[in-house]
C-alpha cells in the first residue's frame, strides 16, 4: 500500500514536471544580484562609453567577434531588437580583439545601429564571467547582471524583450 502511494506521488510529480517541458527558457537567470564590472571603452567612431553611464534603463550587452559564426547568426536579430525597444532598453556590443576597419567591413553585410565598443586588448572581457563567444548579459536599471545567454538567441523575440523591459 505504502509503495503504491509513493509510486503514485512520484508519477504525479513526473507528469507535472513534463507539463513544463515546452515552456521554453530564453534567458538564464544570473545567480544572485551582482553589479556588472564597470569599464570605459571607445566605440568604432572613437567616442568613449562608460558602463556606469548606462543606468536607468535595462541594458543588453553582447560580447562578440566578427569571425564567430553564432555571433554573426544573432547580430541581425539584435539589430532588429534594438529598433523595437530602443526607447526602453540600452544595447551595447563589445567586440573582442578586432579593429574599426574589420567591424566596418563586417557591418556592410550585417548592419549594427547600436553602439559597438572595442575591447582590443581583451582586458574588459577578462573582468566579466565569459567563457565563450557570444555571451550576452542583461542588466537591470541599477546595473546588476540579471540574465545571461551563452550562444545565439533570437533577440527580437517579443517574449524575450518583455523580460528585458521588465527589469
Amino acid at each position: 500500500m505504502m509503495r503504491q502511494v509513493t509510486i503514485q506521488s512520484m508519477l504525479l510529480l513526473l507528469l507535472s514536471w513534463s507539463a513544463s517541458a515546452f515552456s521554453g527558457q530564453l534567458l538564464t537567470p544570473y545567480k544572485g544580484v551582482q553589479p556588472a564590472p564597470d569599464f570605459e571603452l571607445v566605440d568604432v567612431d572613437g567616442e568613449k562609453h562608460r558602463l556606469s553611464d548606462y543606468r536607468g534603463k535595462p541594458l543588453i550587452i553582447n560580447f562578440w567577434a566578427t569571425w564567430c559564426p553564432p555571433c554573426r547568426e544573432e547580430m541581425p536579430s539584435m539589430n532588429r531588437a534594438w529598433h523595437k525597444v530602443k526607447d526602453d532598453v540600452f544595447m551595447l556590443a563589445i567586440n573582442v580583439g578586432e579593429d574599426e576597419d574589420t567591424i566596418f567591413i563586417f557591418s556592410a553585410d550585417y548592419p549594427i545601429d547600436f553602439p559597438v565598443l572595442l575591447d582590443q586588448s581583451g582586458d574588459v572581457i577578462k573582468q566579466w564571467p565569459v567563457k565563450g563567444l557570444p555571451t550576452t548579459f542583461v542588466l537591470d536599471r541599477e546595473g546588476n547582471i540579471r540574465y545571461t545567454a551563452v550562444g545565439a538567441r533570437e533577440w527580437d523575440d517579443d517574449a524575450l524583450l518583455e523580460i528585458v523591459k521588465g527589469l
Binding site: L11, Q25, W67, G122, K131, G132
Partner: protein, 195 residues
C-alpha cells in the same frame, strides 16, 4: 484507472521519461557539399558535435588573426575539429550541463592521452612569437576548457587533438548534469586530410 497503475507500468514510464533519453547515441554524417565528416553525441539533454576542419581552413583562419605562417601551420596540422556543445533539454527545469575538457580522453594506437588544451598552446608561445591580437583570437576561437551550459545555451569553438592529418582516434567525451558524470565514446574519428 490512473491510480491503479501497476509497478511494471510505472517502471516503464520511468524508463521512457528518464533512462531512455539518458542513453547517449552517437551518429556520424558527411556533409554532401564539403565531403567533411562530423560526429554527434545526443543524450536528449546534451548534444556535442565534432566536425572536421580542413587544415587549410584552420591555417587561413589563424593567418588572418595575425599568427606567423609557421605557427598557423603547426596549429592547422594538429587535428583541429569544430566543436559545438548544446544544452538541448526541452524542459527548462533540466539540470545545467558542465563540460571540462581536462576529463576527455583520446585513444590513439592503443594509448590514452588527454586533449590538447588552449592553455597548453598558449604556454608554448613566447611573448615575441605571437602578437597579442592573435593570442586573444586563439583564446576565444577555441572551445572553452570548462563551460557550463544552462538550458538553451550552446557553445562553439575549435578543439585540437594533436594528431597529423588523416589519423584516426577514439574520444571519450565526459560531461556532467547536476553533478552526475556521464560519458560516451566516439569511435573512429578521423582528422581531416590536406586537400
Amino acid at each position: 484507472m490512473f491510480f491503479r497503475i501497476s509497478y511494471i507500468h510505472f517502471c516503464s514510464i520511468i524508463f521512457m521519461l528518464i533512462v531512455a533519453p539518458a542513453l547517449a547515441g552517437v551518429t556520424q554524417s558527411v556533409d554532401a557539399q564539403t565531403d567533411l565528416s562530423s560526429w554527434k553525441i545526443d543524450d536528449g539533454n546534451f548534444e556535442l558535435e565534432l566536425a572536421q576542419l580542413l587544415p587549410d581552413q584552420t591555417r587561413a583562419f589563424f593567418l588572418a588573426r595575425g599568427f606567423s605562417k609557421q605557427i598557423a601551420n603547426t596549429i592547422a596540422t594538429s587535428c583541429i575539429m569544430q566543436t559545438i556543445g548544446r544544452n538541448s533539454a526541452e524542459k527548462e527545469i533540466s539540470a545545467s550541463i558542465d563540460v571540462d575538457l581536462k576529463r576527455w580522453r583520446m585513444l590513439h594506437n592503443g594509448a590514452e592521452s588527454p586533449v590538447k588544451l588552449k592553455e597548453q598552446w598558449d604556454s608554448e608561445w613566447s611573448a615575441g612569437e605571437v602578437i597579442d591580437a592573435a593570442r586573444l583570437a586563439f583564446r576565444w576561437a577555441t572551445f572553452p576548457t570548462q563551460q557550463n551550459f544552462a538550458h538553451g545555451d550552446y557553445g562553439w569553438g575549435m578543439t585540437s587533438f594533436g594528431l597529423v592529418p588523416g589519423e584516426r582516434f577514439d574520444l571519450k567525451v565526459v560531461w556532467s548534469a547536476a553533478g552526475v558524470q556521464k560519458e560516451a565514446w566516439i569511435r573512429g574519428i578521423q582528422c581531416a586530410e590536406e586537400r
